[in-house]
Amino acid sequence: MASCRQMGIGDGAGWRAGELKMTTTPKAHDEAYRIDREPYYLRTSSEITLFETAFHTGLPMMLKGPTGCGKTRFVEYMAFRLQRPLITVACHEDLFASDLIGRYLLKDDETIWVDGPLTRAVRMGAICYLDEIVEARKDTTVVIHPLTDNRRMLSIDKKGEVLQAHPAFMMVISYNPGYQSVLKDLKQSTRQRFVSLEFDYPPAEKEAEIVAHEGDIAMDTALKLVTLAGKIRNIREQGLTEGASTRLLIYAARLIRKGIAPEQACRCAICLPLTDDVRLQETMNDLIEDVF
């Protein structure tokens, strides 16, 4: 279920869809980031409307939820739907501010400036998706702050340039609250800049439909996989902090599709990736035996 919560943001920049002037962005520039085929996305709640509203209001958005439940797919779909380019950055602990903003490089005795993905997105009015934001260094997270309040600007210190964001620019971050490290929590000052959508595994029927579609398997097999996942998600004992994700179910479905025996497919695609604990694996195997 997706739910929307607005977190302490004043009126966003007053850009409306109708005012968009595409001329500011040379077509060729953003082509690489366009999504030209409609990604398959099954809506689970009112998340599409909420995202669209945030986009048109110039608000940044945070997608909360466990891994593999459709956050990335959703952003891709929205980018297509809104006809905006999408620039995705997977965050990690060695990601520096300059990796986002850009840097000078040496080329044929010349120094040239190369925009980082964030700068590029800000210029061309793309959706910039920072995946797993908590993994980034704290000092890196700070550079997005001026972009995510009503200033909507990015300062490039190296060049002494201050960029006003393209009206269609949108910042989206994803955040997995299941990461339990108290040392790695997202800072309040960062959190409170985003409108949040909460993602969870889709309801059984929908999830089965997704698995059947993405894994190209029959609906009843998909339903079984989803039943299994539901049971595995009940195991909230130590060592299994996250349940079986939709993504893992799709993997299993694809293996089954290629003729691997369902039990084995589940073991390889679901059990083993989830945990190393032999006892939990035993329980999962018990459940797999029940279902197939």
């Binding site: 000078y104 040496l106 049971k231 595995i232």
Partner: protein, 926 residues
């Protein structure tokens, strides 16, 4: 000399009384002559020693009339002869010969005399306990074991032994006879004898092993096992001994490989984890021997299953099959079957729904009485009299059965329809399970069919198992015809909507025909109205009479609400209310009622008032003496008022003074391996111990990226930055953690499969955690809490933040013990105050408990809400919390209490020492 009983009265009136009483109990009067001998001999004995006289008197009266006069004389002579060596020996013989004469053969008597002769040489003191054990065997009618036991005694006491060895052997062998299991006892004793013949020291070893798994070996396996052990012993005595006691790995492995029988304790954890995943309910398995109710007997014979809403009862051990894996599998099958009642909500059966739906189905052809019964009861429910009926008539299912003249027949019919529903649901979702389980049920059912056919046998096969009953032996054609017809009826009803009440409707429709069938002469049943219940395979059927709701307060609440609404002509089903209340943790609002009833809440109905559980308000203020301890007052959240009660709870800081104890050191020693591994792992968590600062004005190395920028800037004519270095600085984790341990009474329970209590295991885990914290250098404190009532919450400071892990601290950890209740909120608030005093960037509170908060007028929802509130308060003060619950199955209510990502459940507390450090590591990884 007059030898009537009066003479005995003169000598020892109490003995005479006892003898007389026993004489009167006899079916046939005992002749004067015998009584004469009895009296004379007793008095003779009394003259030597009172106890001896008593033994003779009671022994002879026991024998009188049950053995021949010659035997009685023989008894007398043997006792007399023994008494020459002293009255003690006389007494022992007089007592224990009784069972030999009564239950043993001549050969046994001779064997007995021979063995006691040998034992007497070692001393009279060796006789008492082993002979007591022998008498028990004989009284149980186990002559074979008695022989084996005598042979064992003979082998043991033929050794050259000193006093202590004799004493030890005597008690060991007495214990052996008592622990060995009935059917296996004889050959187990034989094997014990075989071992003792080689070396009497080995007896203890084998007996130890017997309690750890060897007892599960069948006869040939035990023989092999002992043979192997003796071989080991010949190579090296110590190895053999360790092999038998299962203290060596070879011993354990060998035993496990040979073992066919499976004990519940071996599979319990696995089954519990499965149940948890399958039903998401706090269900656990238990041995059926733990089930006290008499009527709870699962099955006439063979393994079976039943459950009571909280526990699923399984055989203590299973040795049905000749292969271990199959026995193990049977445990899994039984668990899986029983779990279905919970997964598919059999016990959510709603009487009102059942009655309404029944009455809707063509009642025209129904006979009057039942129809009337149904209608009357429904009317009562509509009037709102349901609540009163609830306590008397048991749960809804039972009440439903009791509407019929033969409740057992109604129950059987319902069972079969319910099993059919479950079969359908299982087939939809668990095809693997169905494929594996159905054959077993078939097999078990056809084994049952060999007995004279039960009238519902065919229906069971047809519906519960989806099998064609016509070919099955013992099936009467009338039974199969009824089965066919009823199955058609069921299928028609099931086609539209399949609920647990569907079964009840069909019971209503088929009851009379089934009753007629049960009465028919060919069925082999008594025609006097007695109906023998259908023997369901594995005893697998819903057992409403055992069922106890895990949330009786919710049920009561629902019944009360239902009645109140009914009086205002609002139709809301109780089961719907229960389900909604469960989902919302005992809360409902106007919208819920609107939802369920289809019309708004009538004015004048105070929902809040109805929901206010009277149980929560038995306020009894306790006056606890603070005894000079520092006192702190805290507020408490009252969820009924939705407000804080200010200065409501008094926390007393209690000192812990332990005597010097080696606990801490012992734990360190015992877990040497784990601690080493853990230290290593934590060295890794500390990421190189260093933080790399890039673009730093000074340092030991150049920063490559900064250097590049430098070159570029210079070329571009920009003033380059001088921040060109990399500096490595020691990283400061700066974490302060307080470990708050629940010391409630329940932590004194022993952990299954060991002698340790829950708290002892928790303390072990704490000791290990202190080592981890030492590696990481995190500041930490440890405190315990418990108490009694709102004025007496005890808080024990075991280690303060600024304290080192001194001897005093170690002593306190060793000394702290289980106390009383858990008023969690106040303890958490007090802990928070401690945490706030330490300067640290990250503050973390870890709560270690074994269940839900609970104290005087601090129960259930009230307790949960206050605790949750306290945790919210912490969050707002930037204190992280994480709760660890041990010895409980995962429970959605725990999620509710702590927030789903802020707690861990460790059902098997024995894993805590391992896992606590691991959880801590994950919680604070950087």
């Amino acid at each position: 000399m007059d030898n009537s009983i009066e003479t005995l009265f003169a000598a020892d009136p109490q003995l005479a009384e006892a003898v007389n009483a026993r004489l009167l109990e006899k079916d046939e009067p005992v002749d004067e002559h015998t009584i004469g001998i009895l009296v004379a001999e007793s008095i003779r004995g009394l003259c030597r020693e009172t106890a001896f006289g008593w033994a003779v008197g009671l022994g002879m009266v026991e024998l009188a009339g049950r053995v021949t006069p010659e035997n009685l004389i023989e008894y007398r002579n043997i006792v007399r002869q023994a008494a020459r060596e002293g009255p003690t020996l006389g007494r022992i013989m007089a007592t224990h010969l009784v069972a030999v004469f009564l239950h043993g053969s001549r050969a046994l008597l001779n064997h007995f005399l021979e063995v006691t002769r040998i034992m007497r040489i070692k001393g009279t003191y060796t006789l008492n306990r082993p002979l007591e054990a022998l008498s028990i065997l004989l009284k149980a009618g186990d002559q074979k074991s008695a022989h084996a036991y005598l042979a064992l005694l003979e082998a043991a006491f033929s050794w050259q032994l000193n006093y202590n060895q004799c004493l030890r052997l005597a008690s060991l062998l007495a214990e052996a006879a008592a622990v060995f299991d009935g059917t296996k006892r004889t050959w187990q004793l034989e094997q014990l004898q075989r071992v003792i013949r080689i070396d009497h020291h080995l007896g203890q070893a084998l007996l130890d092993g017997m309690q750890k798994g060897v007892q599960r070996l069948d006869r040939p396996a035990l023989e092999d096992f002992v043979g192997l052990g003796l071989e080991k012993y010949r190579q090296r005595a110590r190895l053999g001994s360790k092999f038998f006691s299962l203290d060596s790995k070879t011993g354990r492995d060998t035993c496990r490989q040979m073992q066919i029988c499976v004990g519940l304790d071996e599979v319990q954890e696995r089954l519990n984890r499965y149940l948890n995943a399958r039903t998401a309910m706090p269900l656990a398995v238990r041995p059926v021997s733990a089930l006290t109710q008499k009527h709870a007997r699962v099955q006439e014979s063979g393994p079976g299953v039943c459950s009571d809403g909280r526990f699923i009862y399984l055989p203590d051990e299973i040795d049905t099959f000749s292969r271990r894996s199959e026995n193990l599998y049977l445990y899994q099958v039984l668990t899986r079957l029983e779990a279905a009642f919970y997964e598919f909500a059999t016990f959510d059966f709603d009487l009102q729904k059942a009655l309404e739906q029944s009455l809707k189905t063509s009642p025209a052809k129904m006979s009057g009485a039942l129809l009337q019964n149904f209608a009357l009861r429904l009317e009562k429910i509509h009037r709102g009299d349901h609540e009163a009926a609830l306590d008397k008539g048991g749960c809804d299912l039972q009440q439903f059965f009791n509407l019929f003249l033969l409740p057992a027949l109604a129950a059987d019919l319902f069972t079969i329809f319910e099993l059919a529903r479950i079969r359908v649901l299982l087939t939809q979702r668990y095809s693997g399970l169905v494929q594996r389980v159905m054959p077993l049920l078939h097999q078990e059912a056809s084994a049952g069919a060999r007995k004279p056919g039960h009238p519902l046998g065919a229906l069971y096969l047809r519906l519960a198992l989806d099998m064609d009953p016509t070919g099955v032996r013992g099936t009467h054609p009338r039974h199969s015809a009824f089965a066919e017809k009823t199955a058609a009826l069921w299928q028609a009803a099931a086609g539209s909507e399949l609920t647990v009440e569907t079964g009840a409707v069909i019971v209503f429709q088929t009851y009379f025909e089934a009753a007629a069938l049960a009465d028919c002469p060919g069925s082999g049943l008594a025609a006097d109205g007695f109906y023998p219940p259908f023997p369901a395979p594995f005893g697998w059927r819903p057992r409403p009479e055992l069922f106890r709701s895990t949330e009786p307060q919710i049920d009561r609440l629902a019944a009360r609400l239902k009645a109140a609404l009914a009086r205002r002509d609002l139709v809301v089903y109780k089961s719907d209310l229960i389900i909604r209340l469960r989902q919302q943790n005992g809360h409902l609002d106007d919208r819920d009622i609107q939802d369920l009833a289809g019309s708004p809440l009538p004015p004048g109905l105070d929902l809040e008032h109805l929901l206010d559980d009277a149980d929560l308000r038995s306020a009894t203020d306790l006056h606890v003496d603070a005894g000079g301890s520092p006192v702190f007052w805290y507020r408490e959240w009252d969820c009924r008022l939705a407000d804080y009660l200010q200065r409501h709870v008094r926390v007393l800081e209690r000192p812990v003074q332990g005597p010097a104890n080696g606990f801490f050191r012992q734990v360190l020693r015992r877990h040497r391996g784990l601690i080493q591994r853990m230290r290593y792992a934590f060295e890794m968590i500390k990421p190189r111990g260093l933080t790399i600062l890039r673009q730093w004005p000074d340092g030991d190395e150049f920063d490559y990226r900064a250097l590049l920028d430098y070159a570029l800037d210079r070329r571009a004519g920009i003033l380059p930055s001088d921040r060109l270095y990399i500096k490595r600085v020691k990283q400061r984790r700066d974490v302060a953690v307080l470990l708050l341990v629940d010391l409630s009474r329940s932590t004194a329970n022993t952990v299954p499969g060991s002698d340790a209590t829950v708290l002892e295991v928790e303390k072990e885990a704490i000791v290990i955690l202190t080592q981890a914290l030492g590696v990481l250098g995190d500041t930490f404190a440890i405190a315990g809490f418990s108490g009694n009532g709102r004025l007496g919450v005890d808080y024990f400071r075991l280690k303060d933040f600024e304290e080192n892990l001194s001897d005093a601290v170690r002593r306190r950890i060793g000394a702290v013990s289980a106390q009383r209740n858990t008023r969690m909120g106040a303890a958490v608030r007090h802990a928070a105050v401690q945490l706030e005093r330490v300067p640290a960037r990250v503050r973390l509170l870890i709560i270690l408990g074994d269940g839900f908060p609970n104290d005087l007028d601090y129960k259930r929802q009230y307790a949960v809400e206050d605790t949750r509130r306290a945790l919210f308060e912490l969050k707002s003060r930037s204190i992280y919390t994480h709760a660890i619950t041990v010895n409980q199955t995962a429970d959605p209510e725990l999620d509710n209490l702590y927030g789903n990502i802020h707690h861990s459940v460790i059902s098997d507390v024995r894993q805590l020492p391992d896992k606590l450090v691991w959880i801590y590591g994950r919680l604070t990884r950087s």
